[in-house]
């Protein structure tokens, strides 16, 4: 019987530190959406109730508010798990990598996909502690492989970088613009 209980533990989700912050934030978000509903959705004339443009936003935001309220109540009446502040700090620390991602997005249209990717992978790997020449090589190889696979082979739509305009016109520039 003990084993079954432990097995259930494997499938059941238990609370974590910081649950109160998340529950409160989600409830406030739902509440804000609920308050904004009158001027962010419309009830149109001569339209059936279930066909109203505002019907599904009302249903979804209504349930969001209801369930997030119940979730918040659950967090309020449960025992506090220590480590709330550390958990919130962890969430904030991850914002740095979102910023890295946005920086990558911003440099590609300017530098081009291949140079942008090599620069990004190398710089982020360096930031994460992979500072040897070997890791710089691995980073460059990985970036090249990704560009070759997606842009050159699968031909996904990524526009050519502005920097490629500086290349002498002719076959090389066309090759860079199409494949790299």
């Amino acid at each position: 019987m003990t084993r079954i209980k432990t097995l259930q533990d494997l499938f059941k989700r238990y609370r974590r530190p910081g649950d109160m912050i998340f529950a409160l934030a989600f409830f406030l978000f739902s509440l804000a959406l609920l308050i904004a509903m009158p001027w962010q959705t419309e009830w149109t004339a001569r339209t059936a109730f279930f066909g109203q443009p505002a019907f599904w936003p009302a249903v979804s935001v209504g349930f969001m508010a209801l369930f997030s309220f119940l979730h918040l109540m659950g967090a309020l009446v449960s025992e506090r798990i220590p480590g709330r502040l550390a958990e919130a700090k962890y969430w904030l620390r991850s914002l740095e990598f979102a910023a890295w991602f946005i920086a990558y997005v911003l440099i590609v249209p300017w530098l081009g996909y291949l140079p942008g990717s090599i620069l990004f992978v190398w710089a982020l790997a360096f930031r994460m502690g992979y500072r040897s020449l070997r890791w710089a090589g691995i980073s460059a190889l990985f970036a090249c492989a990704v560009v070759l696979m997606f842009k050159s082979f699968l031909q996904v739509r990524i526009p050519a970088g502005e920097l490629y305009d500086l290349l002498p016109s002719g076959a090389l520039r066309t090759f860079f613009m199409i494949n790299l």
Partner: protein, 507 residues
């Protein structure tokens, strides 16, 4: 029979075979790397497959989906870290076997059970297809609406211990798909006067953020770790053959995976729970479960690998995905204007058979691959986790940016990445958001068309399938409430459980 042969003919193309090979071999490797998993891989590859023929794209994605669990068993058994979330139960008996010096036996049993589970479910579904072709046309708008509603109810109820959170996240998913210019009356919904919100929030942006970017952020924020591995020696084929000594457990696991896979919103965990509980209760040695029982390992792996084929049923027959991976695959159909649903089984049964035959082929390819490559895969999975984060972040960019070259999409994906990270850290599920988005869209369209022919509320359930579905929803809610009350009476102190981030819950 003609449709089966025609399906075979559809597959006999070089591009399909190459996609199958890349998908299955790639899936094993992706599944074996803890921290990647099929959801991340499929999310990244999805936009790239839009340019391919639907059968080629779907074969590749199915290859990844179907083979990742084979790969996921490898680190679960050898280093006690599941490669994918659904291999978590495999660690329970697989790793103790490794500690007893039976690593090869455990791996062989896991691969053998996965193969048997996959094969039994696919054969069952091929035999079941003609019946489905007859039942599927009975699903009109109201039945599809109710089936989608059942999916939402099940995905909420299935998240035991976090039902309210799953409910609010599913509702959030439904909300997300309503944002933008509404297509019937052309009114704006929750756009706050912002032009970039008028075109709505793309499912792929959300999926990439929640699955791929969040995983990259997690790996980059967490301390570095690289798994330590040791080589496997011996005859893998003979080890795999041992599964035949436990035919009953493998068959029940496969059956449970097939049935649970077909029901939207349920999936691998429930299938494994049922299969494992049955195996333990019917075993001559129940005490060995959790301490290195071969039967426990087989129950886990045969059940989880039977799910992918079965999960394609609601998607293909009704156009309703039951979990996140098939929800992503639905977008491949839409991009190519192939609308899955009753018509697909009636008019394109050969296409359906082609997908199933592809799944049989991928199981065979994978078994041949793992026979010889376990040691090679173990070397690959030793990638340091932070560099893995860099890799996922780089690959996610292609997925989001190639959609429509939009910086706004990338920023939104980054936002969803942070949300995904918080959810994973909180042991809260991501799947309800994705299913809410997809099923919410289906429910909106189907309810609108269904209500055109309904005068009183009872008209909505005056057809047998609609009535059965409505009763099933009510019964499920009642059973859940009863279960919660019973559980509350037998509750244990809060700190009798651990509050760590669980491997089985990072999706």
């Amino acid at each position: 029979m003609d449709a089966l042969l025609s399906g075979l003919d559809l597959l006999a193309r070089l591009d399909v075979l190459v996609a199958l090979l890349i998908g299955s071999v790639g899936g094993v490797i992706i599944g074996a790397i803890p921290g990647v998993g099929p959801a991340v891989a499929i999310a990244i590859l999805l936009p790239a497959t839009f340019a391919l023929d639907p059968l080629v794209g779907l074969t590749m994605l199915l290859g990844i989906y179907g083979s990742s669990m084979f790969g996921g068993a490898l680190p679960a058994i050898l280093i006690n870290t599941p490669g994918t979330a659904v291999n978590a139960l495999t660690t329970y008996d697989g790793h103790p076997m490794t500690q007893k010096g039976q690593a090869l036996r455990a791996l062989g049993l896991a691969y053998g059970a996965s193969f048997v589970g996959g094969l039994i479910s696919i054969v069952a579904l091929i035999l079941f297809a003609p019946l489905l072709a007859r039942i599927a046309p009975m699903f009109g708008s109201r039945e599809i609406f109710l089936a989608a509603l059942l999916g939402i109810a099940l995905v909420i109820i299935a998240h035991r211990g976090q039902t309210f959170a799953a409910g609010m996240l599913a509702a959030f998913g439904i909300f997300l798909q309503t944002v933008g210019l509404e297509p019937v009356k052309y009114t704006q919904r929750y756009t706050f006067g912002q032009e970039w919100l008028a075109s709505g929030i793309d499912l792929i942006v959300v999926v990439l953020g929640l699955f791929a970017l969040s995983q990259a952020f997690l790996l980059l924020t967490d301390p570095e770790s690289a798994p330590k591995t040791q080589p496997i020696k011996g005859n893998m084929l003979r080890a795999m053959g041992e599964v035949l000594r436990h035919k009953r457990v493998a068959a029940v696991g496969a059956g449970s995976g097939t049935v649970m896979g077909m029901i939207p919103g349920v999936g691998e965990f429930t299938a494994q729970f049922l299969s494992y509980t049955y195996a333990q209760r019917s075993s001559k040695d129940p005490e060995a479960f959790g301490k290195g029982s071969p039967e426990g390992l087989i129950a886990s792996e045969s059940a989880n690998n039977a799910v992918p084929a079965a999960a394609m049923i609601p998607l293909l027959a009704l156009g309703i995905p039951g979990e996140a991976l098939t929800a992503m695959m639905l977008s491949v159909f839409y991009v190519h204007n192939v609308i899955p649903g009753p018509g697909l089984f009636q008019n394109q049964l050969d296409f359906v058979y082609a997908l199933y035959i592809a799944m049989i082929a991928l199981n065979i390819v994978v078994v041949v691959f793992v026979l010889f490559s376990s040691n090679l895969i173990m070397r690959i999975i030793r990638i340091p986790t932070r560099f893995l984060g860099v890799m996922i972040l780089t690959l996610s960019f292609v997925g989001v940016y190639s959609l429509r070259n939009s910086i706004t999409d990338c920023m939104m994906a980054a936002g969803f990445g942070i949300l995904g990270l918080v959810l994973k850290r909180q042991n809260l599920p991501i799947v309800p958001i994705v299913l809410g988005m997809v099923l919410g869209g289906i429910m909106e369209t189907k309810l609108r068309s269904a209500m055109a022919r309904v005068d009183t509320p009872l008209d909505f359930v005056n057809r047998p399938i609609a009535a059965i579905l409505a009763l099933a929803i009510l019964a499920l809610i009642a059973l859940h409430v009863w279960g919660v009350i019973r559980e509350h009476r037998n509750r244990e102190p809060e700190f009798s459980h651990d509050h760590d981030v669980h491997d089985s819950q990072t999706r």
